[in-house]
């Protein structure tokens, strides 16, 4: 391996990041489906030719993909090795979550990049498609007991062989989605992003030479590792545990513990999830790649300046117990993976808070709240309104948590209410912050939200919800308190009801004029609530963030004596 000078390295580092960023931009611009176009539920990067390790990843994609994409590439490397015929111009495609992580909605395209007849690296593109068949439109099926009930499953196959696209694969895919036009648009966008990546790599290698770029990629991995080790060295040695719970798996109403022991020793860290619940019947299982990638997401949040490079994880040993719901085998359902990995991040934060309270924040609201409302219009046209909803972020060492943020595993924004109302026969009676929803603390959590959605369609509608935190509220850290639980209710002729599984519900029928109401958790607090300035409590009361009763209950009566 040739040595590379530090100046060329700094330049190449920026150039390669830009290639991934341009691939992101290409797909976002071309995608039809708002989950990619608006919510940026997609990602692109460069991966190691032999190991599949992440070398560079775009900055705009979804955080969870930073760790998980290398598993998708590794799956393709294994398949190509087994077949023994990898060629320039091949493109692999699959959505199998047990092999590539996350869930079946994420379509992965992997393309080997050749230089002078030799494999140089892989380029990959992942994007969340709108619909891939299965029992429930949009593929969030809270009652799925295997992957077959979640979506159509495509293992890694060749979409193109030596530059020639296999139309048969596209035909199979298009026959297995409720929204073929959207799927075709997304597929074209992903292919376009890969084409652009190849073009940019060609230009880069023309300019700098393959040897230099390869040396830079190796050096960047080494430097990411050095960075991580120096961060760990600065932390105290020790072992800290944390546990939290999922409400249930949507099938059996029993809490499921997620447990971590975080150990730091010199420049190494171990994250051991021993003690976590075994594989369950419902879809809150996750595949092993997802679990490892989630540890990466938590680490990136704790050390935000570290690069998106696999070198960061070399000093970190992630232990996922076999048979647990964190390493579920095919065909266990994994559609609700978002809830499980949010809880993994929560416990890692809670454990880390004991080691270095300044480096973490209180738990965020901790549930994606995938709510879909669907029906048929008078003319028979089907409609599906599907979206995720927001909640509060945790209090931080510097200040109160953010009100109504997005989930730590995502950077997705919420569609505008007016766009939803114009596209679907619904009206939001309320789109507001939820008072008394923040975890108390010296720095309180951010507030959760209230969304109340009325059905305007004469034919009525059906509602599905996949959520969590209905029984266990997000935790505070460093002495801060928990916030409040997620609360879902729905209107029927005889009044308001709550689903038996707390935040999971399938197929509630709603008549015209009836509504669903989602009240999401705020974030956990940071630091003991006795440490909160009474003037800030009084201000929260004046703004209506806190009711007077709750203010006194959480912080005592001192706020009544001060001016807001």
């Amino acid at each position: 391996m040739s040595e590379i000078d530090p100046i060329t390295l700094a330049v190449l580092s920026g150039r390669m990041e830009q290639i991934a960023d341009e691939m992101d931009a290409t797909l976002f611009r071309a995608a039809f489906n708002p989950i990619i176009a608006e919510a940026h539920d997609a990602s692109h990067g460069l991966y190691h030719a032999a190991s599949g390790d992440t070398l560079v990843q775009g900055k705009s994609g979804l955080p969870i993909f930073v760790g998980v994409m290398s598993f998708a590439v590794k799956a393709v490397i294994d398949k190509a090795a087994a077949d023994g015929d990898l060629a320039d111009g091949d493109i692999f495609i699959f959505n199998d979550a047990h092999i590539g992580g996350t869930h079946l909605s994420d379509m992965r395209l992997v393309r080997p990049y050749f230089r002078d007849g030799e494999l140089f690296c892989y380029l990959a593109s992942v994007g969340h498609w709108h619909d891939l068949g299965g029992a429930v439109p949009g593929n969030y099926n809270p009652a799925a007991t295997d992957a077959f009930a979640e979506a159509f499953i495509l293992p890694p196959v060749r979409l193109a062989r030596a530059g020639v696209v296999n139309q048969d694969i596209i035909d199979i895919l298009m026959r297995n989605t409720r929204l073929p036009q959207s799927a075709q648009g997304d597929l074209n966008g992903q292919l376009g992003a890969l084409d652009l990546g190849v073009k940019r790599m060609d230009e880069l290698l023309d300019e700098y030479g393959a040897e230099t770029v390869k040396a830079a990629l190796d050096a960047l991995g080494g430097r990411a590792e050095t960075l991580m080790r120096s961060e760990l060295n600065a932390l105290p040695d020790g072992r800290w545990e944390a546990v939290d719970f999922l409400d249930n798996d949507g099938v059996t109403d029993e809490p499921l513990p997620i447990k971590v022991a975080l150990e730091i020793k010199g420049d190494r860290m171990v994250l051991d999830f021993e003690g976590t619940a075994p594989r369950c019947a419902g879809p809150v299982n996750i595949a092993y790649p997802t679990a490892v990638a989630t540890a990466y997401v938590a680490i990136k949040h704790i050390f935000p300046a570290l690069p998106a490079n696999a070198g960061v994880m070399r000093p970190i040993d992630v232990k996922i117990p076999e048979g647990s719901l964190l390493s579920a085998e095919f065909p266990a359902p994994v559609g609700g993976y978002t809830e499980t990995i949010l809880r993994m991040i929560d416990v890692i934060f809670s454990a880390m808070a004991q080691a270095a309270p300044d480096m973490v924040v209180g738990n965020a609201y901790g549930t994606i709240n995938a709510l879909s409302i669907a029906g048929r219009r008078k003319n028979g046209q089907p409609w599906v309104m599907f979206s995720f909803y927001g909640g509060g972020h945790g209090g931080t060492p510097e200040g109160d948590g953010l009100n109504h943020g997005n989930a730590p595993i995502s950077t997705a924004t919420i569609p505008p209410m007016e766009i939803l109302e114009s596209a679907y026969p619904v009206m939001f009676r309320q789109w507001a912050l939820r008072p008394d929803s923040a975890g108390a603390g010296a720095q309180r959590g951010g507030l959760g939200a209230v969304y109340e959605i009325e059905v305007l369609e004469e034919n009525g509608a059906e509602a599905f919800l996949f959520g969590e935190r209905g029984r266990f509220a997000p935790q505070g850290v460093a002495g801060g308190e928990a916030s409040v639980t997620n609360h879902f209710s729905y209107q029927q002729d005889d009044g308001w009801h709550e689903p038996p599984m707390a935040s999971k519900m399938r197929g509630i029928s709603l008549k015209q004029g009836q509504a669903v109401r989602l009240e999401t958790p705020g974030g956990g607090g940071y630091g003991p609530s006795e440490g909160r300035d009474p003037a800030k409590v009084a201000r929260d009361v004046a703004l209506g963030f806190l009711s007077p009763e709750k203010a006194t209950e959480l912080y005592g009566a001192a706020w009544k004596e001060v001016k807001a």
Binding site: L9, L227, T396, L402, P416, M427, L543
Partner: protein
């Protein structure tokens, strides 16, 4: 007849004045310190330096950062909001985003606190149906409550008011009848476009700025009038056009990027006049490098921007991409041994290490100083006596040289290489995102520092040549004098092409054109031409991102003939194919918004009047100095740039100095002075 035009650009550090006397063809510039918090002091001082008798002045055009600063520093007025029941928190909830992807830190305070956001019973549905008529008594009570709370302005924000403004209009009438000043902003007036957060935010920020900005502009206008000024006073908008001062007082949110926009307008005009209609501008300031692209003489407009996290302004603005690589950006080596530039910046205070004002960490400017590219004895701006080259060298050595095992000079070159690479990356991304090949463009540096990095941009991006305007330090002020008058209008249509209500479309279009022409009629300037630009934001059903589709309309005697459905469909196909390469089988075409711009073309002054008269290359020679390029020192000739005659040819290595700018001509490059006084820099072999 008075024939003096004055452009004034108030920036963070300096107030620049550009004076053009059309009768004599004489141009003069002045640079004075910006006064704070009231910028009018520097404004009048700057004009006073060049013009003694304001009665000779026909036009004063102002590019202002008053609005931007008020937003960034949260110095707007105490305001209130009256909104639909159930929706008081839209402004605070944003689009459910967060300040940074990683770290989960950071917070957001909206400009209107929750206790000043009041709800009233009313509701309009997405199709324009009024589900619940507005309760006017509740509106009046809310307005009274806000007045009692000391609010100086109010924003009225109703759901779906873009689809049917009736409820909102009734509420606005009631509030205007009782509000003691003109500061009442309505969402359907400011931005009748779908997307409640973007519309509410733009409207609320407008209200937030109204008292402040209109107060400032009125003070200026009064001071000008008292000084004998009897001409027209106009303000540059973010879209690069100017508007009358009373429009600016009503719509201050449109000034959010006023100053930078004027710079891009001037750059476009200068480049096109010099024969380069495709140009990428690079404005290098203390903390940032701002890139903008002009294709075929047209600058690109973006529909919205975020002034800061959660502070969305949706009104057309000249697209300017900013990266944190300015002269004051700090160079540092991370724990993994990688050299980084920024985002931390020493700004202009304390500034680079060489300024000797307390900063000890090396900046991009320090690298330029150590390499001899900036004259340490004549610092730009005139505030400092001398730059401390030794201190800059020590800082570079300690923070970059030692950790990387490089000599001081090598480390300084490394800092510039990485900074240049980032700037080049910004240029590449800006052009690629827009589907242009950057190699076809010329580069125009302006601002104090841009011209030091010209050679690197040509080399890194492969741009053919650079064009350095004669007065790069006052480009924005010059742009004020050049900019056209312009007003933008938008209306959400949200209909399939084959179901479009042609009568309603015609009505909206006619209204836009009437209002635009009325604005031009009210202006005292004469216009060379009037132009109406109509675009539709369109997409296939199911697609989120819209394509801007230009459509032709005819206007005869003020009456607009709108495009037919067939014309709209075919215009969409053309625009879609140009953007995405192919059309979609069986796709249903949808029109989201109608956008109209009414432009009055102002007479342009002749740029040749800026050209130098007489002089010789020899006479412009000031001496020589050691300057480092690549891997060695060159004995480099220094020229007084403004003394170089038209047609002068100077081969690199050379440095052309003028009071506010240093132009670097790298070895292998040739600088030529064109007939407008611009310096064209291109590789020697290209000639």
């Amino acid at each position: 007849m008075s024939n003096v035009m004055i452009g004034v650009d108030v920036g963070g550090t300096f107030t620049d004045v550009f004076v053009m006397d059309e009768t004599t063809g004489e141009a003069r510039v002045a640079k004075v310190p910006t006064t704070r918090p009231d910028q009018s002091g520097g404004f009048l001082d700057g004009i006073g330096k060049q013009v003694s008798d304001l009665s000779t002045v026909a036009v004063v055009v102002h590019g202002t950062t008053a609005g931007t600063n008020a937003l960034l520093e949260r110095k707007g007025a105490r305001i209130g909001v009256i909104t639909t029941e159930g929706l008081r928190d839209v402004l605070e909830m944003r689009r459910r985003d967060r300040p940074q992807t990683w770290g989960l830190r950071g917070n957001f305070d909206p400009v209107v606190p929750r206790d000043l956001r009041l709800e009233v019973p009313e509701r309009t549905l997405a199709d324009g149906t009024i589900r619940k008529p507005v309760d006017i008594d509740a509106v009046k009570a809310a307005a009274q409550q806000l007045l009692d709370e000391g609010c100086l302005a109010v924003a009225i924000l109703f759901a779906n008011a873009y689809a049917n403004p009736e409820n909102e209009t009734k509420a606005v009438e009631a509030v205007r009848a009782m509000w003691p000043n003109p500061h009442v902003s309505a969402s359907s007036e400011i931005l009748p476009e779908i997307r409640e957060y973007e519309r509410f935010s733009t409207t609320a920020l407008n209200a937030y700025l109204q008292p402040e900005v209109s107060g400032y502009l009125n003070r200026l206008e009064n001071a000008l009038t008292e000084g004998g000024f009897d001409g027209e006073f106009m303000i540059v908008q973010s879209n690069g056009g100017v508007m009358a001062v009373d429009t600016a007082c009503r719509l201050p949110v449109r000034t959010a990027l006023s100053g930078p926009a004027a710079g891009v307008i001037a750059a476009g005009y200068i480049a096109q006049t010099a024969g380069y209609p495709d140009v990428i501008t690079g404005d290098m300031g203390g903390t940032s490098f701002d890139v903008s692209l002009i294709a075929d003489g047209q600058s690109i407009l973006s529909p919205q921007t975020s002034i800061d996290f959660g502070m969305v302004v949706r009104t057309p603005m000249i697209e300017i991409t900013t990266i944190g690589a300015g002269g004051g950006s700090i160079a540092w080596v991370d724990k993994g041994g990688l050299l980084n530039i920024g985002p931390e910046s020493a700004g202009s205070t304390p500034g680079p290490v060489a300024y000797g004002q307390g900063n000890t960490r090396p900046t991009v400017t320090d690298a330029n100083v150590v390499l001899g590219r900036i004259d340490p004895d004549n610092p730009i701006g005139g505030k400092l006596k001398r730059l401390d080259v030794e201190a800059a060298g020590r800082a570079i050595d300690e923070h970059v040289g030692k950790p990387l095992g490089l000599s001081t000079v090598e480390a300084a070159e490394a800092i510039l290489t990485v900074a240049n690479s980032r700037m080049a990356g910004a240029i590449r991304l800006v052009s690629i995102e827009r589907g242009f090949d950057p190699k076809k463009f010329a580069f125009m540096p302006f601002g104090g520092g841009g011209a030091l990095h010209t050679g690197a941009m040509l080399d890194d991006v492969g741009l053919g040549r650079a064009i350095v305007p004669r007065y790069p330090g006052v480009t924005s002020a010059m742009g004020c004098v050049i900019a056209d008058m312009r007003q933008d209008f938008v209306q959400t249509i949200n209909a399939f092409v084959d179901q479009i209500d042609e009568e309603a479309l015609a009505g909206y279009l006619q209204d836009h054109v009437d209002r635009g022409h009325a604005m031009l009629d009210a202006a005292r300037s004469s216009f060379e031409a009037r132009e109406v630009i109509v675009e539709l934001d369109m997409a296939y059903l199911g697609q989120t991102h819209t394509v801007a589709v230009p459509v032709a309309v005819t206007i005869d005697g003020g009456k607009v003939t709108p495009p037919t459905r067939a014309e709209i469909a075919s215009a969409f196909d053309d625009a879609y194919r140009a953007t995405y390469g192919r059309l979609l089988d069986k796709g249903v075409r949808r029109v989201m918004n109608l956008r109209t711009a009414v432009v009055g073309r102002r007479p342009k002054f002749d740029l040749e009047t800026l050209a130098p008269e007489g002089g010789s290359v020899e006479a412009a020679r000031k001496g020589t100095r050691q300057v480092h390029f690549g891997s060695k020192w060159y004995e480099t000739t220094i020229y007084d740039r403004l003394a170089l005659p038209v047609g002068a040819v100077v081969d690199g290595p050379a440095i052309l100095e003028q009071p506010d700018t240093t132009v670097l001509v790298d070895p292998g490059l040739r600088a030529t002075v064109d007939k407008f006084g611009n310096t064209i820099i291109a590789p020697l072999e290209a000639d």
